[in-house]
């Protein structure tokens, strides 16, 4: 437990001091919003609103990929990753610390991106704050668990940015689909649709538990 808190605190503190990851992720996701605007056919506002949930999640996922790559690339400096791997502690706790730090980062980026979607696409992001927070939290949790596990894998390969995207995107299709679905229903009717939320919860459980157990094998000296 102390290990978890130590890793989490270290990650958040170093991010707070440099702010390079969160700033680049934010800029990237805002750029994606702008790019989407030009990629979509001009049409009535209702059409843009209908597309907003899916685009929001795509922008989040891409920004998350960017941040997850840095999460472990940062540890390569001064060989900090070897230090983590050699620490005589349960690696599951290291995983949890890292994953929660990534989760915080992704949620921060996502909240700002959602605000941008509210302004630019007229998405009703403030209409149902509790439900929306739940959907954002569940979706980001799935991305950060699988992303942390395979971020640690990708950082030890050649072409690490590319490898992380190739590994993660097919695995995260269920999370993306369910989160998009839940957000769409929430924006349209103001209700929480139980089916996608259930799937998000199951996917989160699968990714958190399997990553917690398998992290031991991906951290090497």
């Amino acid at each position: 437990m102390n290990v978890l808190l130590a890793v989490l605190w270290k990650d958040l503190l170093s991010e707070w001091r440099s702010r390079d990851r969160v700033v680049s992720m934010l800029l990237f996701s805002l750029l994606v919003v702008v790019i989407f605007h030009f990629a979509l056919p001009p049409g009535p506002p209702a059409q843009a609103q209908a597309l907003a949930p899916g685009l929001l999640w795509v922008a989040t996922l891409f920004a998350a990929l960017l941040g997850l790559n840095r999460a472990f690339a940062l540890e390569l400096e001064n060989d900090a990753l070897s230090g983590l791997a050699l620490a005589p502690v349960d690696r599951g706790w290291i995983f949890l610390g890292k994953a929660i730090a990534n989760f915080v980062l992704i949620v921060v980026v996502q909240v700002v991106t959602a605000g941008a979607f509210g302004l630019a696409f007229g998405a009703p992001v403030l209409a149902h704050p509790v439900g929306f927070a739940l959907v954002l939290g569940l979706g980001s949790a799935g991305i950060s668990a699988a992303g942390t596990l395979f971020g640690a894998v990708a950082v030890r390969t050649r072409f690490r940015e590319l490898v992380l995207a190739l590994l993660l995107l097919p695995l995260l299709v269920p999370v993306l689909a369910a989160a998009t679905r839940a957000t769409t229903v929430l924006f349209e009717t103001g209700d929480l649709d139980p089916a996608p939320l259930r799937l998000l919860a199951v996917a989160d459980a699968v990714f958190w538990i399997s990553s917690y157990l398998l992290f031991e094998y991906v951290l090497d000296e």
Partner: protein
């Protein structure tokens, strides 16, 4: 031994397919069934083998399990490609379009992506022991993602146009035998190809070990 079995089951299967009754509605194109579904079964078997062998590798740290996982993954990707090629041909002839985002189609496509990524991951990782560990982890999580993918597609209306499971009797009379023979032949072919690939990988490991020892 296995090669003989492949030839034998393949011949029986081909004969039965030729003798199978023509589908009243679809005509000869329906015979793609006898290739499409058995290769799909074999591909799923291959991916399951990769995940299970990966788990055994992590548990036992025996390189043979890793070689088996790699062999099955490669054969699985080839079989899965066959499924993804025969499927659209049949679909164009009967459903009128090549690709329909039907649940089973989408899951098969995602599986194909996952195991291609598995093979790429291996080639982008250095060090055989590290490659084996990383690949095992990805193979296991990749298999876990399959049921999730099914659930995800259900959310999007479940526009299933694939026929129901065969146990519910969607096969016409006289079609059962060639279908069953196809499944046996495809599984035997999968086993044979995986064995060949496994032996090759074993020889490669041996050669690498000898080379590292220097000239005799």
């Amino acid at each position: 031994m296995l090669a003989l079995a492949v030839a034998l089951t393949g011949a029986v299967w081909a004969l039965l397919v030729v003798m199978a009754p023509m589908d009243a509605m679809q005509g000869p194109i329906q015979k793609i069934l006898y290739v499409h579904v058995p290769t799909a079964f074999a591909a799923y078997a291959a991916f399951a083998t990769t995940a299970v062998a990966g788990a055994f590798y992590l548990w036992r740290e025996d390189e043979a399990f890793d070689r088996l996982a790699l062999s099955a993954a490669e054969v699985g990707v080839v079989l899965c490609t066959l499924v993804l090629v025969t499927g659209p041909i049949w679909a164009k002839g009967t459903w009128g379009r090549w690709w329909s985002w039907d649940p089973r189609l989408t899951v098969t496509l995602l599986l194909w992506f996952i195991y291609l990524a598995y093979i790429l991951l291996r080639s982008f990782t250095e060090g055989s022991e590290r490659t084996a560990r990383f690949a095992a982890v990805y193979g296991i999580v990749g298999l876990l993602a399959v049921p999730l993918n099914y659930l995800a597609i259900d959310l999007f209306g479940g526009r299933a146009i694939h026929p129901e499971n065969l146990s519910r009797g969607s096969l016409g009379e006289g079609m059962g035998a060639p279908f069953a023979a196809g499944i046996v032949a495809a599984l035997v072919a999968f086993a044979y190809l995986t064995c060949l690939r496994f032996q090759l990988e074993g020889l490669r490991a041996l050669a690498a070990r000898r080379a590292s020892l220097g000239p005799p």
